[in-house]
């Protein structure tokens, strides 16, 4: 009985809460809360004009101050987190799923498809990521959906590269030979036996990538290529505030802090996940 208990308890992931990931989890929790229920948290509507309170500095009524239309910055930052969390998830999920699956196939089968992929990687990595995405958005036209498409079109390649390299290492191991002599087909070997052994680096990269996606999304928002005003998005908010930088610093500073918090949150949680997965493997 006691033996069964220890086996069962060992199987559960040993989450040792390190300070970094704990801070990350708190930041992520706050942002997620904002993203899920902005209406419950925001004191005002993000789009409500108040011509009696234009460009007011932070006060008890408006904690983060107001903008040039009298809109409450705190409410706009809270509503913006919904868009930015969406960017983090939507623009990285397809690359993660598609890139991981394709990386498995390329690494396992090799051949002409693999060669074409490697040349494609060579081409893509010669161009800066941001420039490439901007170029694609420029073709498709600005807007959130086109931004997701542009990021997805380029980003999957990095996941595929990571997973492919890991597959090349793992497929030479005996347990894959063992699965082959068990008479299993390639689909079963790749997705049942190989995938769980190669997905860890991709998950870790996914966490980092989500942080980068928030930065990229707000960069594009700032440049007017992502979310369009009057939608509240952190990059758009900073862009709104840039003309008032010297007189109303609060317009740009607080969305900036939100971006930093999101980036730090994803990265710290990613570190925690990476450590937990490594400890398990």
């Amino acid at each position: 009985m006691s033996q069964a208990l220890t086996v069962a308890s060992r199987r559960r992931w040993a989450w040792k809460v390190a300070p970094g990931p704990a801070i990350g989890a708190v930041l992520m929790g706050l942002l997620l809360l904002c993203a899920i229920a902005p209406g419950a948290l925001a004191p005002y509507s993000p789009l409500a004009f108040d011509y009696h309170a234009l460009l007011k500095p932070p006060s008890a009524a408006h904690w983060f101050g107001t903008d040039n239309f009298g809109r409450d910055i705190l409410s706009r930052v809270i509503y913006a987190s919904r868009i930015d969390m969406q960017i983090a998830v939507f623009s990285t999920s397809f690359p993660f799923l598609f890139g991981t699956a394709l990386g498995c196939l390329l690494g396992y089968f090799g051949g002409i498809g693999d060669t074409i992929f490697l040349r494609l990687v060579d081409m893509i990595i010669t161009m800066p990521f941001l420039v490439l995405v901007i170029a694609i958005v420029a073709v498709l036209g600005p807007g959130l959906l086109n931004m997701y498409i542009a990021i997805s079109v380029v980003d999957w390649i990095f996941y595929a590269r990571i997973v492919r390299a890991e597959v090349l290492v793992q497929k030479r191991r005996d347990y894959i030979a063992a699965a082959e002599v068990m008479g299993y087909g390639p689909t079963r070997i790749i997705f049942r036996h190989l995938l769980p052994n190669v997905v860890t680096p991709a998950i870790i990269y996914w966490m980092t990538d989500a942080a980068l996606a928030v930065l990229l999304g707000s960069s594009l928002g700032y440049l007017g290529l992502g979310a369009q005003p009057p939608t509240a998005e952190w990059g758009v908010l900073i862009a709104d505030g840039k003309n008032f930088m010297t007189t109303a610093w609060w317009m740009s500073i607080f969305p900036g802090f939100a971006i930093v918090a999101a980036g730090a949150g994803f990265s710290l949680v990613g570190d925690g996940v990476a450590a937990a997965l490594r400890r398990r493997g």
Partner: protein, 326 residues
């Protein structure tokens, strides 16, 4: 004699300029335990992998591997997959490497039951627990959820055997199954293999470099050197009266439990470089009994008594005398 279960004929493997297997052939009878013995690099593990088509695509394989009237080397991948696991199972040397580290043991067994026998759900779990129980893992049902790293070395090899036997193959290929284990566990695993062979009426091909293991477990033995069969026949006869100078050398290099503190006689030199094999008998350069004819051409396998063959030109002289104490 009835038709053999598996018949390997003139197997040759080329990898680039190398020819790690020049000519290997043997039969496995139903219910038989066949040992394949040889030094490291003699091609014995490669032979097993070649039988099941596990070699990298850079290797080219020639010869015939006859199984149930078909040549495994000519089968389509789909047809070969039907033989693998279902009809021929395989156990590897290092169970930690050969078990999937991230899947529970139970799942690795039920997967085979599902793929080959169509068993699912509770029925598959019950059968998996029976299999673990059969290979001697205590509290089998509770261990179904355990991961390979939670098992000891011997338990892992037992689990590996349970997985290989899940679909009740007729033949089990065991590639040095006990080499990575310590001696007491080794003995348990060998006894387990013998018991399972009897219970399941299957054949076993046991590859090892340990002649002691062969003597203890096998009915017949194939001695392999430099990618060629040198000698084969019943274990007791070969150990008592080797018909090949190489076999004799191997036996002389083993300690004899009846005599204390003896000097062992090692075989001088080392196996030939596979890039430049000698023209004649591959063992001739190291052979104390070599005659000029040995260096000229590769001696063919010739009968050396009932059910025995040898590729030694001096087989007759060797078998005439029992292995004398060195």
């Amino acid at each position: 004699m009835t038709a053999p279960l598996l018949s390997v004929q003139d197997l040759m493997v080329r990898i680039g300029p190398l020819r790690p297997i020049s000519c290997i052939g043997f039969d496995v009878a139903a219910g038989e335990m066949l040992g394949i013995a040889g030094e490291s690099g003699s091609g014995k593990s490669l032979t097993l992998r070649a039988i099941l088509g596990l070699l990298p695509s850079s290797a080219s394989v020639e010869g015939r591997v006859l199984w149930a009237g078909q040549d495994l080397l000519q089968l389509s991948p789909r047809a070969l997959a039907g033989v693998r696991g279902r009809e021929i199972g395989m156990v590897f040397q290092e169970p930690m490497m050969a078990l999937n580290p991230v899947l529970p043991i139970g799942l690795q067994i039920t997967e085979s039951l599902r793929a080959h026998l169509g068993l699912r759900g509770a029925a598959a779990r019950t059968r998996a627990a029976e299999l673990l129980d059969r290979v001697g893992i205590p509290a089998a049902r509770e261990r179904l959820g355990s991961f390979p790293h939670e098992f000891s070395g011997g338990m892992r090899q037992r689990a590996m055997i349970a997985i290989a036997l899940a679909a009740e193959p007729k033949l089990l290929l065991a590639d040095e199954p006990t080499t990575a284990l310590d001696v007491t566990i080794q003995d348990q695993i060998l006894k387990l293999l013998l018991r399972l062979r009897d219970e399941l009426a299957m054949s076993v091909v046991l590859v090892t470099h340990d002649l002691g293991v062969i003597a203890e477990t096998c009915d017949r033995v194939v001695i392999v050197y430099a990618g060629r069969v040198q000698e084969s026949g019943p274990v007791a006869e070969i150990f008592a009266r080797p018909a090949h100078a190489y076999t004799e050398g191997l036996l002389r290099s083993l300690p004899d439990p009846r005599r204390a503190r003896q000097r062992l006689v090692p075989i001088a030199g080392s196996p030939p470089d596979p890039t430049e094999l000698p023209a004649g008998c591959p063992f001739a350069p190291r052979c104390p009994a070599a005659i000029p004819a040995c260096l000229a051409t590769v001696p063919p396998l010739a009968p050396a008594g009932p059910r025995r063959v040898s590729a030694c030109l001096r087989a007759g002289e060797l078998t005439a005398r029992a292995l004398a104490p060195a």
